[in-house]
């Protein structure tokens, strides 16, 4: 396969899957900008490995695995290459509007609590409940056993449940 052909394939893949990758990266990092950086890094690594990856399924898996492992390694190294100058950075520009059912408020609280989980626990939840992957697939992506995935899932859900029970709608701890 010639380089031009490889480039065309890579470009087509990014065009088709870029938005989905960016959404997953955002959920993993909890931050739009960090999500972009994560996708960029994963795509750069994927491009370098492109000649070795043949099938579309393999490409998708490679990129996702790279995103997850890169994200966890960033966290391990406490990577803070680009620190926002404002605590609001990364937040959406408009606060959520009035929600008469309260459902949005609950999801907003859930989102805030997700940010307090460990990177690996968060990754497990995103892959299980957003990507809808099975335990074996998550284990393969994270490079751990299915038992570890079960354990991470269970602990993360228990932590979320406990946190949600002890905070009110404003995200403040109930006394």
């Amino acid at each position: 396969m010639g380089k031009a052909e490889q480039d065309a394939e890579f470009t087509a893949f990014v065009t088709a899957r870029g938005p989905a990758l960016l959404r997953t990266a955002y959920l993993l990092t909890g931050d739009h900008q960090a999500g972009e950086d994560l996708v960029q890094t994963a795509l750069a690594k994927t491009y370098a490995a492109w000649p070795r990856i043949r099938s579309a399924e393999a490409v998708e898996g490679y990129v996702r695995r790279t995103m997850v492992t890169t994200h966890v390694s960033w966290w391990r190294r406490r990577w803070r290459g680009e620190t926002p100058t404002d605590p609001q950075s990364g937040a959406l520009p408009e606060p959520p509007g009035h929600d008469p059912t309260g459902a949005h408020d609950e999801r907003d609280r859930m989102w805030r609590h997700l940010a307090t989980l460990s990177e690996r626990q968060r990754a497990v939840l995103v892959l299980r409940f957003y990507e809808d992957l099975g335990e074996a697939e998550v284990a393969a992506l994270l490079g751990c056993s299915t038992g570890a995935v079960k354990s991470h899932t269970s602990r993360a859900l228990a932590r979320l449940r406990a946190d949600l029970a002890t905070t009110d709608d404003r995200g403040e701890v109930r006394r």
């Binding site: 990014v14 870029g18 972009e36 795509l43 100058t85 520009p93 408009e94 999801r107 979320l160």
Partner: protein, 381 residues
């Protein structure tokens, strides 16, 4: 939580994921290149300050070369030829060889600015363009007509606003012994038509209807003076204050082309007010102070440049419409050439060096062009 926690979690993740804008064609390849370039630049600043000093000396060439190397055969796929080429009605260029003066390009003609000067902003005026000319210790206003003739307008300083019909300009002047004053001058020769004493900075031409006041049939100029906004009715020779609007000493102002709304960047917020003094919206200044911004020509959007990102917000609501990935440079002096393209001067995020190299973005197709290469910005969410 009444529903099953797993269902709620899945719903939360899906809802959050929908807030992420899609990436248009070719974005990924460009993102990867941009990331690699930024990382190389970080390493360079950490490990080799001497090398950076060399880069400082030859920054424009060096960065261009670095970027082009990143674009090269080993840097990743390039498919920029598939993107439509921006065709602005006028532009800024650089001379070559021994004459490296800044050029104003109008159609097929290139007009050199006076030696040692550069461009602040460009303003369309009929078939020509009004140029804010900035030198090392001087600043002034020039007019380049549709035939490519450049004239420096005597005694006019900055800022300058251009009337919608392109026949007159309002500018701040402090030439002579009369003290600072706002001057209404005609094009193309800059002959003064009226003056208003005082240190007032013109922002835009407006109509009496927009100010909610009775005004004469002649031009009305919106201006900033101290912490207030005001209007100058040239026919009646009166100045009136826009009620209730106050600005901080360091706040940055920009008026929509029709003058009906003014965007104000303050210490902690970004807001838009109208000429009746109403605040139309505010949003937290999530980017800090180091940014520049400009209204789109049709008044529907405001484009910001901050921290290497290009952001377009809705002028009606303040909501973010488009946001680019980070680039290795920041833009300022943003100016719109038409409804699709804008230019900006660039400032290196690592070295803080400012270069005159120009930059064009097309927010409709979601592409930006610089260094002869293009990258994508994120599409509307």
């Amino acid at each position: 939580m009444s529903r099953d926690l797993r269902d709620e979690l899945a719903e939360t993740l899906r809802e959050r994921a929908t807030s992420v804008p899609d990436v248009p064609t070719l974005a990924g390849a460009s993102l990867a290149r941009g990331r690699a370039l930024r990382r190389r630049r970080r390493i360079a600043t950490t490990l080799a300050p001497a090398f950076v000093a060399v880069v400082l000396v030859t920054a424009a060439t060096a960065l261009t070369g670095a970027y082009e190397r990143a674009e090269g055969p080993s840097g990743g796929p390039t498919a920029t030829s598939e993107l439509p080429a921006p065709r602005p009605p006028y532009a800024v260029g650089e001379g070559r060889g021994t004459d490296a003066r800044t050029l104003i390009v109008v159609g097929d003609r290139s007009v050199p600015l006076p030696e040692g000067t550069s461009v602040g902003l460009l303003h369309r005026a009929g078939t020509g363009v009004v140029v804010e000319v900035i030198g090392s210790d001087t600043q002034g206003v020039a007019f380049v007509d549709g035939e490519g003739r450049l004239r420096m307008l005597p005694d006019l300083g900055l800022p300058v606003a251009v009337a919608p019909d392109g026949r007159t300009v309002a500018a701040l002047s402090d030439a002579g012994e009369d003290g600072p004053r706002m001057v209404l001058a005609r094009l193309p020769d800059g002959k003064p038509l009226a003056t208003l004493p005082g240190d007032r900075a013109p922002l835009a031409f407006v109509t009496g209807e927009e100010t909610g006041q009775d005004t004469g049939p002649g031009p009305v100029v919106l201006f900033a003076a101290g912490d207030r906004l005001g209007t100058w009715d040239v026919t009646e020779q009166t100045a009136r204050e826009v009620p209730r609007v106050r600005r901080g000493e360091d706040d940055i102002l920009s008026a929509a082309r029709d003058g009906r709304r003014v965007a104000i960047v303050g210490e902690r917020e970004f807001r838009v007010v109208d000429l009746q003094g109403r605040t139309l919206w505010t949003r937290p200044d999530r980017y800090g102070r180091n940014w520049s911004f400009s209204w789109t020509p049709d008044g529907t959007g405001i484009v910001l440049s901050v921290g290497g990102r290009i952001v377009v917000v809705s002028a009606a609501t303040g909501r973010t419409l488009v946001e680019s990935p980070k680039q290795p440079f920041d833009l300022f002096a943003l100016m719109w050439l038409d409804d699709r393209h804008f230019l900006g001067q660039e400032s290196d995020l690592v070295t803080d060096e400012v270069r005159e190299r120009r930059f064009a973005c097309d927010v409709v197709t979601g592409t930006c062009e610089t260094y002869g290469a293009r990258f994508a910005i994120l599409a509307e969410p």
